[in-house]
Symmetry: C2
């Protein structure tokens, strides 16, 4: 056991989960968390709902306040940036509020997260153009959307943490009457709903042919129909080249190869990139561009761990290292590493890339391999079926169309992945498929699952069972 502290770089989901677990499991040992920003451990996934106004206060999105971290025995240093790591001497160099210093570590967790990608789109620096990766972005966006007569920095509820200058700038500006969302992934779809809560024209640009690509075409099409019904204008297959600014440096248009659209605001959500630069010379970085780890989250360097949006993680179905930025795997991996460092080894688990998203009144879910080409690349011989069934007994009020796609491997008959879309309790049903994947169940075994049935909640054959029945019939 090392006398030196457990040092965590990054005070978000993975970092603070690790520190919390460690301080409970090894209360006599020190844990220091360096966070370069002012915010710690907040719910990224909640920011669209803050912008929309459903979540009132920015601080509602904090999972752990600095005070709570301290109570848990965590030495939390905000506005402290780790600028160098020496894995031979086990020491990190920190730029803090009182200057630079060195901090030795016994074990180190790199939980530096990811950042929003905006290239190759020019103009993201324009006034009125945003990415959404952090509470200050969310604060600025909501300040901009609210009528200047009603907007104030205080009303955002960010307390001492918020970038008040930036928020005040947008609060004073006239609200936009149109907005372009660049990118039709989770954030794009969630922000379409958020912007629609205000009185403005919402345009969504998606480079590829469908929104929510990772959910597959069937879900994408259903969501597109629903977005249009709710007044969102879709520009599918239209790659945005740049945002154009006026003389004052404010966004005035979105420019595509064959199309230009005047807008007052733009939000770019075209993806994230792992923050690996701090340690890219000291530890192995995988083909995904994220830090490579073993089953316990350890990197190629002794006593150096990585977790969350900066690290790879093993895929439940393929077994290959994969990179994603989902909340649960980050929390879980952080927690496991905290326990491991405390002396009780715990694997970080695998990730099936299960995700669920709300698009106005539609609920969508996906898990595992849903793209047949990706499944073939992973060495499977995939076969897929899509069915539509009711969410409840047909005679019971409120039954809604629920569309399920299941993918299986023809050789082993193992279920590889699935997606679901519908308006009535659809998203939660993907957990049945996620559980089946983890247990490596075959299609026949899924078909024979004894799932719950009652008229208000499900037809006799749950849509997932019906999908398994139809898929099995085709194999």
């Amino acid at each position: 056991m090392s006398a030196e502290p457990f040092v965590v770089v990054g005070g978000d989901a993975a970092g603070l989960s690790a520190a919390s677990k460690f301080s409970r499991a090894a209360p006599d040992r020190d844990v220091i968390v360096f966070e370069r920003g002012r915010w710690v451990s907040y719910a990224h996934c909640g920011t669209p709902y803050f912008v929309k106004g459903e979540v009132e206060q920015l601080t509602d999105l904090l999972s752990l306040s600095p005070e709570q971290a301290t109570e848990r025995g965590i030495d939390l240093r905000r506005e402290h940036e780790v600028v160098a790591v020496d894995t031979d001497d086990r020491v990190v160099t920190v730029d803090g509020t009182d200057g630079q210093f060195e901090q030795p570590y016994g074990d180190l967790l790199v939980a530096t997260g990811a950042r929003a990608v905006s290239d190759p789109i020019e103009g993201v620096e324009l006034d009125g153009a945003f990415t959404l990766h952090g509470l200050d972005d969310a604060a600025a966006l909501r300040a901009y959307l609210i009528d200047p007569a009603d907007a104030s920095v205080e009303a955002l509820g960010g307390g001492e943490f918020v970038d008040a200058t930036r928020a005040a700038h947008f609060a004073a500006m006239e609200s936009p009457s149109s907005v372009a969302i660049v990118g039709g992934g989770f954030v794009g779809v969630e922000m379409a709903e958020a912007f629609s809560a205000y009185d403005l024209d919402v345009h969504l640009f998606q480079r590829s042919g469908h929104v929510l690509q990772s959910f597959g075409e069937t879900v994408g099409e259903k969501v597109e129909t629903h977005l249009r019904e709710r007044g969102v204008t879709l520009h599918l297959g239209e790659p945005v080249e740049r945002l154009q600014g006026d003389d004052a440096g404010r966004v005035e248009a979105v420019v595509c190869p064959e199309h230009e659209l005047e807008v007052d605001a733009a939000m770019v959500g075209i993806g994230l990139r792992p923050n690996v630069e701090l340690v890219s010379e000291q530890v192995d970085v995988g083909e995904t561009g994220a830090i490579a780890i073993d089953d316990y989250g350890q990197t190629s360097a002794d006593h150096v761990y990585a977790a969350g949006d900066c690290a790879e993680i093993e895929h439940t179905v393929t077994g290959a290292p994969t990179w994603n930025t989902l909340g649960l795997p980050a929390n879980r991996a952080g927690r496991a590493i905290g326990q491991t460092v405390a002396g009780d080894p715990e694997p970080v688990g695998t990730v099936a890339e299960t995700s669920v998203v709300k698009a106005f009144d539609l609920e969508c879910g996906r898990t595992g391999l849903t793209d047949l080409e990706a499944a073939r690349d992973a060495g499977f011989d995939p076969v897929s079926k899509t069915i539509t069934a009711g969410s409840r007994s047909g005679y019971y009020p409120g039954s809604a169309e629920t569309t399920v796609t299941l993918v299986a491997d023809r050789d082993t008959e193992r279920v590889l992945g699935g997606s679901i879309v519908g308006s009535d309790r659809a998203a939660v049903r993907i957990d049945t498929v996620a559980t089946a994947l983890a247990a490596e169940l075959t299609v026949a075994e899924v078909e024979r699952l004894d799932l719950g049935y009652a008229p208000p909640f499900s037809p006799v054959w749950d849509p997932v069972l019906t999908a398994a029945k139809v898929l099995r019939g085709s194999m």
Copy 2:
């Protein structure tokens, strides 16, 4: 292959599922279904919602009309009762509308269902006392509840099938101003909701200390609180001895050992009993009192199968024969037997006794072994934990308390069962546990499941994951 037809006794879920599957799989062979009643293949589980008025027409509850059965190539004979079975000569004796006849069979499926138990409670034959086991019971009850000025047999929407005399009798009666429900199982709880839709005092009597016994005490208590909030008077631990009638033979009171309550109507839902008498000399009946079967639904007699509410089925967790009256296993077993008889053997599957029920605004689910004593009897060393978590991210509007109990075996760490109760998408989450049981996952494996997370649908750690985490911590 036999030249004689596949004969099915009973035209409900199991019987017609078997006949439908058989006629698709072996279109050149004959299948005859004898149904002693006028109704076929209807949704038992929907009857409380018909009584409540949420389902408008009785015929909405038919899963398959006689015409549809004929279109599928099924020779359906309603009002034909099979009164004897000769398994040596492979022939059944049928009392039909045109007299008695013998029908040879190649294979026979006994799907005779179950009947409502009313003993040891006297007085169920009184006017204004009901059991709820069939559409005619549902029709009579609703006719009674509706104001005589508005009530008519036609408005029940039962078409040619309904027992019009009985319905007309109750339609003409003054509506009750109070009702006693005897029995706090599924039907009792669902009927409490149904009766409450009318303007009357609802009393629920339960012999044991809690309603919904098979869901365990935690769920029972939550439901009791909710029922009381919704105006239902609970009489827990009060065994009803008899229903008391007036001189005209009408229900006037419920009599308990230490308590008597005047009521205008009573509904007895204290359980069901399998209908095995037709073949109890010819095939083995198990300890549960239902017909014993093998993995393919075959009884101890050659070419004789049994499925549905009259048959046993293997328990997913214990492997022991069990008896239940759930919809999905009956449909599944029937379908499997239809396929097996057609020459493509398919196991009937196992049953975890997964069930879900709605109690006003509460959703409840249970699966596997939730009773510790039953788990010990089955040879396990059970350990159980109950947690309460939010159904959504805490900051997202609409998050509701969700209480999960998980039971596991201390030796193998295998999950044995669980229950759930809450008002927001709670019931469907039991399917995660049901899937885990079927796959024999351990508590640690459940804790590491990659379930879906998005603020509107789940906290980062789904309540099922939190339960697994806490349970594992205690093992």
